[in-house]
Each structure stands twice: as structure tokens, then as C-alpha cells.
């Protein structure tokens, strides 16, 4: 049964080769070849996942000589279903969407190669195979994003992606070299077994091997998942075909979360890496969301939305909720994929009708008309604070009675509470004909969402990490001292509550209309809308390096 995993990367490669070799004969039928092999791959991946669900196990299928090992385990099978499923939808969508484009055959060949590289990456059982697949994803993406050969802009943005991915590739290469140098094997299961049996036994450059390789793998994940400072490429790569944007935002960009899960046994033995991962994810989530809110261009806004989501996903890894990150990347993949793939028909419909209901929600959100008669604020404040936290507590308590002992669960609970409270707080000013019905709908949706999210993520935890001791070890590694944790939580709460009070105060006193406040607000808005001038700084750095290279060449007379 496990041998089937060899077919997963082989089938799309075969489709790409067939389409390349018989391009003239096949004509537009290249799409059929691609879709059919995609369907077969999806069926195979589903069979493999079914087998894992029946009884989870890890089997390495090798081509020989310790290289080219494919791993059939819960994580690789889950990723295979996700990749084959989403790529199948993208392929079917592309059949008509790309019909008018030049290079129809080239597009499907590149798409198949990308799927092959992703599947290889997902199931790589040795570092060499992982390196090959990891590099190839970046290279193929470069050509997919620069698919329009006449567009210099698309090519330039594809280059930004490539160079950012290269930074991650090199970090991964360094991690692989250190691991091989330390353990004398490329095999991932063997390396993980060695680490588990003697954690912290080896050092490199004054650090434990786990600490340094964990940091390098984290950098590789940051580059791939557009974390802050390595994110600039993501919002600008919308020049590629829409199916590519969909595949990128749904699948490729999630590789960061996957790779952290794949190297979980290493992260479980680190000291500070998970805290750094949490911090980077948090900053990315906040900055991505802030930048999303200030974009006028819907595509860039979607790009920053993905950045924010990726930040949240990485943050989940940072608190030790590794399997939750996998669930998050799947859930995000589905809703973002729907957004991208339905964008065309939504725009077409919007030309006839904007689709915005001219009711309470419209007058509140678009026309910014708030209710003249508001609900009593004390009642609203109580509902705002008490209801979300009660629901979240019950949901967590259902799956794990001791969840409050895990800092990671508390942090995620905290975020859920803030989000829920924010939603309820907003309704305070909203005009509604039937207020109890509106608040009831919100609460039911919130409850279903939270309980569903908690139960499913718990199921993912049991499926991906059946070893309870290992699960405990990951949470333990992600834990910080109680005093610091409590202080940080109190500080964050105070900042958020202060933000609410400031918002309320400024609305009440119409601060926006006052010149001093307005100037401050405009300066902040300019800073955010220019994306913190990061792109300008990067462009300046690139220009300076090119000038330096030219000067050296002149100095050495181009010899």
C-alpha cells in the first residue's frame, strides 16, 4: 500500500513530460492529461490517508542508497491530500480560465512540475530529497509567476520571490549540512531518533545542534511563509495568472507551517527557538493585518491578508500547537482559494449588481451610519467580556480538562476572546431592527466556529502526534516562566483595553476632526500605506549593491 506514495510525485512529472514531448499532437488536450493525472493522484493520496486514519504508521520507501526516500506517515499523507486536492481544483479552473492565454501547454507543464515538487517536499524522508524539492518549488514558482513573458513587471516580482526563497533555501541547506555532519546520515527518521535518544548531546558553534538547526529551519519557514521582513514579495506577486495566485496562497506559502511540523522532533528539543517563532509570527500577524486594512488595491489587500494568516499560523507553532498550524493552513487554504477562484465571477456579477445588501450592515459598514438608539453599554460590556470567554473555555474544556495548564492554549484562547469581544463590541453601535436575533446569530456562529475549531484541532493533534509524551514535550518547550507569561498577558490585555477605550473616547469627542490628531493620524496612515517604506529600503539596498559591483568591475577593468 505505502508503495503508492512513489506514484504521487511521479504522476505529475509524467504528465509534464507527456505534455512537453507530445505538445503539438495534444494541442489543447494537454489540459486533459494534466487534469486526469491530477485526479488519479488525488485518489491515491486519499487511499493513503485512509490507510493512515485506520492505523497511523511511518514507512520509508527508498529508491536506494539513502537518497530519494519518500515517507508515508500521517503528515505526508495529509499534505498529499491537500496538495493534490487543491491542485486538481486549480487545474480544472485553469482549463477555461487560461484558454485565451499564449503558452497554454507551458502553463500546464509548469503547474504539473510545481505539484510534483510540492508532493516530493511533503513526503521527503531524507534531507537530500527535501533540499531538492525545497529548491525546486522556488524555481518553478519563479517561472509560474513570470508566466507572461512580455511583462517585465511580473518578471521583476517573480525575481523578488525567487531571491527571498533563496534565503530560505540556503538556511535549509546549512541546517541539512550541520545535521549530516553531526549524525552522519541524511535520513530524517534516523536523525530524529538520534535526537530523541540523546537530546542536546551535540554542539555546533557553541550552540546545541537542535538550537542552531531549529533556528535555520525556522528562517527557511519564515522566507517561505512571508514572515515580517521576508514578506515583501507576497503582495506584489499578483501579476501572475489567477490560478497561480490561488495555488500560491493556498498551498505554496503554507510550506513554512509544514516544515516546522516535519522538523518537530528538533524543535521539541530547542530552548529559545519556539519563542522567537512566536514573536515573529505575532509581529507578522499584526503588521499583515494592519497593512491589509490600508490597501486600496484588492489584490494587494488579499496578499497582506495571507501574510497575516501566515503570521497566525507560525505563531501557533511558536506556542507549541503544531498540529493546529496544519489545521489552520488547510482551513486558510480553502477560504483563500475560494476567494481567488471566485474573484472573476464575483467581478462579473458586480458589474450588474454590487451585491451589497442595502440594509443594516451596509448602512453601518459602508455609509458609517450608527444607530441613534444604542443598547445599554453595561449590558453590552458584560456580553462582550463574558460570553466569548465562556464559550472558549467550554470548548477547550470539552477536549482537554487540563488545557489551562498549557500556555499555548491560553494564548490562543486569549486571541479568540479578543476577536469575539471585538465582534460583539462592534454591534453596540450597529443599527438593527431585530437586535436579539442579530446577537443570537453572532453567538451561534461564534460557538459553532470555536467548538468546531477546538475539536478538529484536537483530532489533528491526536492524528499527527499520537505519542502523548512527545505532545507534552512540545508544549513544555514552548512554555516560558509563569511570572513572565502572566506579566505579558496582563500587559497585552491592558494595551488592548486601552485601545478600546481610546477608540471609544475619540469617537465620542470627535477627535478625528481636530487638526493635531488628524495630522498624527495622516502621518501614521502614510507610513502604513507605504508599507513602512520596506520596499524602498530593499530597492535602495539592491541598487547600492549593483553600483558597488559595477565600481569593482571598473576598478579591475572587467577582468
Amino acid at each position: 500500500m505505502e508503495q503508492l506514495i512513489l506514484l504521487l510525485p511521479a504522476l505529475p512529472i509524467l504528465a509534464a513530460l507527456t505534455n512537453q514531448l507530445f505538445a503539438k499532437k495534444l494541442g489543447r488536450s494537454v489540459a486533459k492529461v494534466s487534469v486526469r493525472t491530477g485526479l488519479i493522484s488525488f485518489i491515491i493520496a486519499s487511499i493513503l490517508l485512509g490507510d493512515q486514519l485506520a492505523e497511523s504508521h511511518t514507512t520509508g520507501i527508498g529508491l536506494g542508497n539513502g537518497f530519494g526516500i519518500l515517507l508515508a506517515d500521517p503528515l505526508s499523507c495529509l499534505m498529499a491530500v491537500l496538495i493534490t486536492g487543491i491542485s486538481l481544483i486549480v487545474r480544472i479552473y485553469s482549463v477555461k480560465y487560461m484558454a485565451e492565454e499564449e503558452g497554454y501547454g507551458r502553463f500546464f507543464i509548469l503547474l504539473d512540475l510545481m505539484v510534483a515538487a510540492l508532493l516530493l517536499m511533503g513526503s521527503a524522508g531524507d534531507l537530500l530529497t527535501m533540499l531538492v524539492a525545497w529548491h525546486l518549488v522556488g524555481v518553478v514558482l519563479y517561472f509560474l509567476l513570470g508566466f507572461n513573458l512580455r511583462s517585465a513587471t511580473a518578471s521583476r516580482h517573480a525575481f523578488w520571490t525567487l531571491i527571498t526563497y533563496r534565503i530560505g533555501d540556503l538556511a535549509m541547506m546549512l541546517a541539512a549540512a550541520i545535521l549530516y555532519h553531526t549524525f552522519g546520515t541524511w535520513s530524517l527518521p534516523e536523525i530524529f531518533t538520534a535526537i530523541r535518544s540523546a537530546p542536546g548531546a551535540h554542539t555546533y558553534g557553541g550552540f546545541t545542534v537542535e538550537e542552531i538547526t531549529g533556528s535555520l529551519v525556522a528562517v527557511a519557514a519564515f522566507a517561505r511563509s512571508a514572515q515580517f521582513l521576508l514578506h515583501a514579495w507576497l503582495p506584489y506577486t499578483m501579476g501572475g495568472p489567477t490560478p497561480v495566485s490561488a495555488l500560491m496562497h493556498v498551498g505554496i506559502v503554507n510550506a513554512g507551517g509544514f516544515v516546522i511540523n516535519r522538523f518537530a522532533p528538533i524543535f521539541a528539543q530547542t530552548e529559545t527557538v519556539l519563542h522567537v517563532i512566536f514573536f515573529v509570527g505575532l509581529i507578522t500577524a499584526i503588521i499583515g493585518s494592519v497593512l491589509m486594512l490600508t490597501q486600496n488595491d484588492i489584490k494587494k489587500a488579499l496578499g497582506y491578508s495571507t501574510m497575516g494568516q501566515m503570521g497566525f499560523m507560525v505563531m501557533e507553532c511558536g506556542v507549541g500547537a503544531f498540529s493546529l498550524a496544519i489545521y489552520h493552513l488547510i482551513a486558510h487554504g480553502f477560504f483563500k482559494g475560494t476567494l481567488f477562484l471566485s474573484a472573476g465571477s464575483a467581478m462579473s456579477k458586480a458589474r450588474k449588481h454590487d451585491g451589497v445588501p442595502k440594509k443594516d450592515l451596509y448602512t453601518f459598514a459602508v455609509e458609517r451610519k450608527t444607530a441613534t438608539k444604542r443598547q445599554p453599554w453595561v449590558t453590552m460590556a458584560l456580553i462582550t467580556i463574558a460570553v466569548p470567554i465562556t464559550i472558549i473555555f467550554i470548548a477547550h474544556w470539552l477536549v482537554a480538562k487540563d488545557f489551562y495548564q498549557k500556555q499555548g492554549a491560553i494564548i490562543l484562547l486569549f486571541f479568540g476572546w479578543v476577536t469575539g469581544a471585538q465582534l460583539l463590541f462592534t454591534t453596540y453601535r450597529m443599527k438593527a431592527q431585530n437586535f436579539p436575533r442579530m446577537i443570537g446569530t453572532i453567538l451561534v456562529s461564534f460557538t459553532v466556529l470555536i467548538i468546531g475549531y477546538t475539536v478538529i484541532s484536537h483530532a489533528f493533534d491526536l492524528f499527527l502526534y499520537p505519542d502523548e509524551e512527545f505532545r507534552k514535550q512540545i508544549y513544555k518547550t514552548a512554555t516560558i516562566e509563569v511570572i513572565w507569561f502572566d506579566l505579558l498577558l496582563i500587559l497585552t490585555t491592558l494595551v488592548i483595553v486601552a485601545g478600546w477605550i481610546l477608540t471609544y473616547y475619540s469617537e465620542q469627542n470627535r477627535l478625528r476632526e481636530k487638526e493635531r490628531f488628524n495630522n498624527l493620524w495622516l502621518s501614521f496612515y502614510a507610513l502604513v500605506s507605504r508599507e513602512f517604506y520596506l520596499m524602498d529600503i530593499y530597492s535602495w539596498m539592491a541598487r547600492s549593491l549593483l553600483q558597488l559591483a559595477a565600481r569593482i568591475n571598473v576598478l579591475l577593468r572587467w577582468r
Binding site: 536506494g64 542508497n65 539513502g66 537518497f67 530519494g68 499564449e102 531524507d126 537530500l128 533540499l131 531538492v132 529548491h135 525546486l136 524555481v139 519563479y142 517561472f143 513570470g146 513573458l149 512580455r150 511583462s151 517585465a152 518578471s155 521583476r156 525575481f159 525567487l162 531571491i163 533563496r166 534565503i167 540556503l170 541547506m173 546549512l174 541539512a176 549540512a177 550541520i178 549530516y180 555532519h181 541524511w186 555546533y204 558553534g205 549593491l545 549593483l546 559591483a549 559595477a550 569593482i552 568591475n553 579591475l556 572587467w558 577582468r559
Partner: protein
């Protein structure tokens, strides 16, 4: 320290190898020679033979390269990779990338048990450079010069040529699964053993290659075509190039297997 000391720094074979697997400033001599050759054929002969002589000399030296040579090899590779960023003339680009790639062979002299491996990897690294020289010769024939940015948009005007061109560049940039990738991986394994600083230099070298390569692709392949009816390379020739590149990739996979 990369390798054991106690090696005669003035070992004549090592010094001669520094000319054939060029180390700065001896690399200038190679550049002068390479650019002095006007026809593609002699350039190809030099590209294929030059590193083989260097590899033979290194192995004949019967001792590991001294530290100064290894440090200089890393610096030379980075210097030429970095300088290649702004190159637009194809012959210059080939020459700089040849120096940058061949310098890395100094790092992996002792890596493989068999002596042929170094020669084969030198060939694997040089062959794509030789193919690019041929392609450059064809461009010179058609346009009078092979210069990025002068006549961009070849992707549409000459699709077969562009396909071969792009794959050749990828092979030069040590993309998996070409032999350059094996060379680079072996170099990482050797350097990482010794120091993190050396590894970071290797990272920078690879980064500059990728940057230089994509600038070249952008300069030749991308953009609106400005030409009327340019004849593409023949289907037969495309197949021949494809066969060579496939062979290179297969050889790359084989050598990658040797790393385990």
C-alpha cells in the same frame, strides 16, 4: 582552519592549480585568455579542458589544499559571483561564472573517495557553460552581439532557443538536480565542518549566482519582442541540447546519490 597545515605554501602544483581552477588575481589571466578567443569552438575547448587540468594538478599535489588557498577560493568565488551581477555581455558572464564555479572545486578535493569524481564534477559544472557559449555564438551570428537588454523578448521570438537557454542557465546556477547542485552540496558539507563563516560565504555565493542568472534571463527572454520574423534554432538541434541537458540532470542525480 579548513585543512591541516604543514603544507608547503609554494608547492608548484598548487600554484599551477591556482591558474587552472583560477584564484584571484590569477583569474585575471584566465579572463584575458578567454576573452581573447573570438570563436565559440576554442572557448568551449578551454571551458572543458581548463578545470580538468586544474583538478589533475590538485590531485597530483598529493596533499590537501592549504588554508590560504581554500580561503582564497571562497573569496574568489564570491568576488566573481558578485561582479557578475552587473554583467550584460554573455562572454563576460560565462567567464566570471566559470571562475566562480571552478573555485569551489578547491573545497571538495578530498570529499570523494575516488579521483574521477572531481574530474566528473568539473565536467558537469563546465558543460552547461560550454552550451551557453554555443548559444551565445548563435546570438552573435543573428544579432552581431550577445548582450542582455539589447534585444529582449526572445521568449516569444525564439521559444525553442529560449527553453534551452533557460535550462542551461539553471544548470549553471547549480539548480537541483544538475551536477552543480552536487558540487555546491559537497562544498557546504566540507565548509560547514570547519566554520560557520565559510558556510555563510557559500550562501552569499549561491545568492549572487541566482541574482545574476535571473538578471540575464530577464535581459534576454522577458519583454516585448522588437524583431520581425527571427529564425529559431532547428527542432533537431533543440533535441540535441535537450538530450545533453537531460544527461547532465541524470548525471547530477547519480552524483547526488554518491553523497550518501
Amino acid at each position: 582552519m579548513f585543512y591541516s597545515d604543514g603544507v608547503n605554501l609554494m608547492d608548484s602544483k598548487i600554484l599551477a592549480a591556482a591558474l587552472f581552477l583560477p584564484l584571484f588575481p590569477l583569474s585575471i589571466l584566465f579572463n584575458v585568455l578567454f576573452e581573447g578567443l573570438r570563436k565559440p569552438l576554442p572557448r568551449i575547448v578551454v571551458l572543458l579542458a581548463w578545470p580538468q587540468i586544474g583538478a589533475w594538478l590538485l590531485q597530483e599535489a598529493n596533499s590537501a589544499p592549504p588554508d590560504w588557498a581554500v580561503h582564497l577560493a571562497l573569496s574568489t568565488s564570491l568576488l566573481y559571483g558578485f561582479r557578475a551581477l552587473v554583467l550584460r555581455e554573455l562572454t563576460h558572464w560565462i567567464s566570471f561564472l566559470a571562475i566562480s564555479s571552478w573555485s569551489l572545486l578547491w573545497l571538495i578535493v578530498g570529499f570523494f573517495d575516488n579521483t574521477e569524481a572531481l574530474h566528473l564534477l568539473a565536467l558537469g559544472v563546465s558543460l552547461p557553460l560550454a552550451i551557453l557559449t554555443l548559444l551565445g555564438g548563435q546570438l552573435e551570428k543573428k544579432f552581431g552581439a550577445s548582450y542582455a537588454g539589447l534585444y529582449n523578448g526572445l521568449g516569444h521570438a525564439m521559444p525553442r532557443f529560449s527553453g534551452v537557454f533557460v535550462f542551461t542557465i539553471l544548470a549553471i546556477l547549480a539548480t537541483p538536480v544538475f551536477p552543480g547542485f552536487t558540487t555546491m552540496t559537497a562544498a557546504f558539507l566540507e565548509v560547514t565542518k570547519a566554520s560557520l563563516a565559510g558556510s555563510i560565504m557559500l550562501c552569499l555565493i549561491w545568492l549572487t549566482w541566482g541574482w545574476a542568472g535571473s538578471r540575464l534571463i530577464q535581459g534576454f527572454i522577458i519583454g516585448k519582442e522588437h524583431h520581425e520574423e527571427i529564425e529559431d534554432i532547428s527542432s533537431g538541434l533543440t533535441w540535441l541540447y535537450a538530450l545533453i541537458l537531460t544527461g547532465l540532470a541524470a548525471f547530477g542525480i547519480f552524483t547526488l546519490g554518491q553523497l550518501s
